[in-house]
């Protein structure tokens, strides 16, 4: 979020201050959630396609239910633990792909602008300006409204739009200042191809800021995804995500509060942990 860009910075390699306990905990939580996301298929105790009409709204353990369904069941008798695991998998996939997609597209456009200058730079600038005119949620709602059949691919593509302009700005300003550096100019003089100079020498300069930005962008992407799905626009059942689960859960907030509170808690823990990690990374970067 801080747009002040320190030129040519790298992630600290030496002299790391001890990692604060809070950040260690956050890293552990993210590690655990990522593990769940990758291995959800094997961790799920039940098949989420199967409904069980005799076992609807089973209480979770912490409300006095049985261990057969540790997080209870939903309105169709789906095991909530399995649903949440699947939700984590989908939401993380969307957030990772969305963040990566946005980062790659934004960075390339930023480098392109710095390299080409002139009209190209102006065009990228106009795109950045345009992006700044529409809050992401509004843009995504408008796009999802007009696109005929929203599927998962399309949804991920739309999530890629989120925050691309920040990478573009960062990459461009880092590249512009790196261009002035003596050794880069020297590379140009000895005839190294331009694309190599940009990708092999200038890009690594920007990597630190870009990674920090990605770590801060990730939780925001999760929030955007869950918000859209909470509004009922985006992924449709039987596919699910943490946002879809929240959206379904709120209809049962009074008779089965765990349906909304369990995925809600997972969303909160994930975004909070990732923000803490991102903040810490940024502090490290700024201190070197």
């Amino acid at each position: 979020m801080m747009e002040s860009v320190p030129p040519a910075l790298e992630l600290p390699r030496k002299r790391c201050a001890p990692i604060p306990l809070m950040v260690k905990a956050a890293i552990a939580v993210m590690g655990f959630l990522t593990f769940c996301a990758i291995f959800a298929q094997w961790l799920m105790p039940y098949d989420i396609a199967q409904t069980d009409l005799l076992n609807r709204f089973a209480l979770p353990v912490f409300l006095g239910g049985s261990w057969a369904h540790p997080l209870g069941t939903d309105n169709l008798g789906h095991d909530m633990l399995s649903m949440v695991l699947r939700g984590i998998q989908i939401s993380f996939t969307i957030a990772v792909l969305g963040t990566l997609g946005g980062a790659i597209a934004g960075t390339l456009l930023g480098l392109l602008a710095a390299w080409a200058g002139g009209v190209t730079e102006d065009l990228v600038g106009i795109l950045v300006d345009f992006q700044a005119t529409l809050p992401f949620l509004v843009l995504a709602l408008a796009l999802l409204a007009v696109l005929p059949d929203a599927d998962m691919m399309l949804f991920i593509l739309i999530m890629c739009i989120y925050g691309w302009e920040r990478y573009a700005r960062l990459a461009r300003s880092v590249a512009l200042s790196a261009k002035e550096a003596t050794y880069i100019q020297a590379l140009g003089v000895i005839g190294a191809p331009t694309y190599r100079i940009y990708l092999a020498h200038i890009l690594p300069n920007a990597l630190g800021v870009l990674i920090v930005n990605m770590s801060l962008n990730f939780p925001a992407t999760i929030l955007a995804e869950t918000s859209l799905n909470f509004l009922g626009i985006g992924i449709q059942p039987p596919d699910t995500s943490l946002g879809v689960l929240m959206g379904q859960g709120r209809n049962h907030i009074y008779n089965a509060p765990w349906m909304a509170l369990v995925p809600g808690a997972v969303i909160l823990v994930a975004t909070l942990s990732m923000s803490l990690i991102g903040d810490w990374l940024r502090d490290q970067l700024e201190e070197t």
Binding site: A49, Q50, T51, L53, L54, R56, F57, N75, L76, P148, D149, A150, G232, Q236, P237, P238, R250, N251, H252, I253, Y254, N255, A256
Partner: protein, 529 residues
């Protein structure tokens, strides 16, 4: 050329911020709607248009009963008997013609008195086949009143209506939707037809005071109402609260007296609280499925038969609806009265036979696509997922395809196999339900979802035109038999309409229909008992 003419928008008082906010700020403290004679109702949506001829929706029907009357009234509290409404008497002169004697001394909300001219206007092509709204009224009214040939004013208090063809349900047509009578004078006072449809003038127990799309509809008791049961409240506000959880919160906190569209799963919670109770139950509408038989997989009737046999309807009713609705006896309801075939059983559940039928048909796991929306109907996606598992049980390979709009559901491509529908009995007769939907004039036959067999067509003709009750009963029974062997759809259960009621304040006695009765026969205040 004027550029950016903001003036009309800036100066209109309702857009200036203080004028809007101040009243809200000044209303003191926790201003719940506890005013003695006001009724505050939370609805999921208010209609886009209040004209019955322009919008056929549950949200519109809910308000219609308060604003309008029909010539003949259906007494839903007495088995759907037809009783005098705006007409005191009627006479079926021939299978094509009916004559109504109109009630004297009825006043419209604008003070205009009711007579034959208003009836003639209500059923005129000028109103029923006009442009307006987004679609015009033809699309909405044709299935119901498209058969009217002409309306003759015999004298100021007598009207004679002639249909193009003999009509077995000629009187019912003028007792039910969309035959609500509107004032002819009211149209002249309005700017245009379009404007009139936003504040139509009727004769009902309440008159319209305010209508803000997407926000609220406000009604006020009409002092000169002709009926015996008067308006129960002085003022009624239908407030839009799209989220069911917010509606329930509003009921529990005392903000609303009645909330609509409560999911069956929330009823228990509402009953548990000390100040709230649930009300309502099944309405005269069958929730069903439609099979597209024009594709390679479903053109075999035995596969469709197997699909029907695989559905455990009672399990759906018991679980998703907590037993608070019922499985119909085929495509009919007991409000059909004399036309109700009581000896027909509910649809059979026999997974064994379903399996063997599939074997015989040589079904080999071909993918069948079931298009559904998320929540157009109560429990829609839930029911779809349950049906999918029931079908999987007998070896059918059904894929759910969740769509967001009706256009996407109806899109005529190769993979349109199964989709959802509901079958309102607009008339207490198979003509108003089964044949309206599965007959040759129904939307689905017109859109090539299935073809109506010649034998069916012949029987349907008799059903529509014959005045002989015994013959009609026999024909209807035969039609149901044919349908069972070669089904174009499946009847699941009766649709429901559940309310939450603030029992500290009122008692609600809903009718088994989408109309909401807010007269003294439907709503009683606790302190006035």
């Amino acid at each position: 050329m004027r550029l950016l003419n903001l003036e009309p928008y800036m100066l209109r008082p309702q857009y200036s911020l203080p004028a809007y906010i101040l009243p809200a700020l000044m209303s003191v403290g926790i201003a719940f709607a506890a005013n003695a004679n006001e009724l505050s109702i939370a609805v999921q949506k208010v209609p886009d248009s209040l004209d019955p001829a322009l919008e056929n929706s549950n949200v519109n029907q809910r308000i219609m009963w308060s604003l309008f009357n029909t010539l003949v009234t259906v007494d839903y509290r007495d088995g759907g008997k037809m009783v005098p409404g705006l007409a005191t008497d009627w006479d079926v002169i021939s299978p094509r013609t009916v004559e109504f004697k109109l009630r004297e001394g009825v006043t419209f909300h604008n003070g205009d008195s009711f007579d034959a001219e208003d009836v003639a206007y209500t059923f005129s092509p000028e109103r029923l086949q006009r442009e307006g709204g987004s679609s015009g009224t033809t699309v909405v009214t044709k299935p119901f009143l498209g058969g009217i040939e002409n309306v003759e004013v015999m004298d100021p208090m007598t009207v004679r209506i002639t249909m193009k063809e003999p009509d077995a349900i000629i009187v019912q047509r003028f007792a039910n939707y969309p035959s609500q009578i509107l004032s002819k004078e009211g149209l002249k006072e309005a700017d245009s037809q379009e404007d009139y449809s936003k504040h139509p003038i009727g004769t009902g127990p309440y008159r319209l005071v305010d209508y803000e799309l997407g926000e609220h509809v406000t009604l006020e008791a009409f002092g000169n109402y002709w009926g015996e049961e008067k308006a129960a409240a002085e003022k009624v506000t239908f407030t839009v609260v799209p989220e069911v959880s917010t509606r329930i919160a509003g009921l529990r906190s005392g903000q609303f007296d009645i909330i609509t569209e409560v999911g069956p799963d929330s009823l228990e919670q509402i009953n548990k609280a000390p100040n709230t109770q649930s009300a309502g139950g099944p309405v005269e509408n069958i929730r069903g499925l439609i099979y597209d038989s024009t594709n390679d997989i479903l053109d075999d009737p035995s596969i469709r038969q197997a699909m029907n046999l695989a559905i455990d309807r009672q399990a759906i009713v018991d679980s998703l609806y907590h037993g608070r609705t019922e499985v119909p006896h085929g495509w009919q309801l007991d409000i059909f009265g004399d036309m109700f075939l009581a000896d027909r059983s509910t649809p059979e559940y026999d997974p064994e036979r379903a399996r063997s039928l599939l074997d015989e048909a040589g079904y080999d796991g071909e993918e069948i696509v079931y298009r559904t929306q998320n929540a157009y109907y109560t429990n829609e996606i839930e029911t779809a997922q349950i049906l999918q598992s029931m079908w999987t049980e007998v070896g059918l390979n059904v894929k759910l395809d969740v769509k967001e709009t009706w256009a996407q559901v109806m899109e005529d491509t190769e993979d349109r196999h199964i989709f959802n529908g509901s079958f309102t009995a607009y008339y207490p007769d198979p003509m108003g339900q089964f044949w309206r939907r599965f007959g040759p004039n129904g939307g689905w036959a017109q859109e090539d979802v299935f073809e109506v067999e010649p034998e069916m067509l012949r029987l349907g003709d008799t059903l529509s035109t014959s005045p002989d009750l015994e013959e009609r009963r026999r024909v209807f029974s035969e039609m149901l038999d044919i349908f069972q062997a070669d089904p174009d759809g499946a009847a699941l259960h009766l649709l429901t309409q559940f309310f939450g009621v603030n029992t500290d304040r009122i008692e609600l006695d809903p009718m088994p229909t989408l109309y909401l009765d807010l007269t003294t026969s439907g709503v009683r205040y606790q302190d006035q008992k």
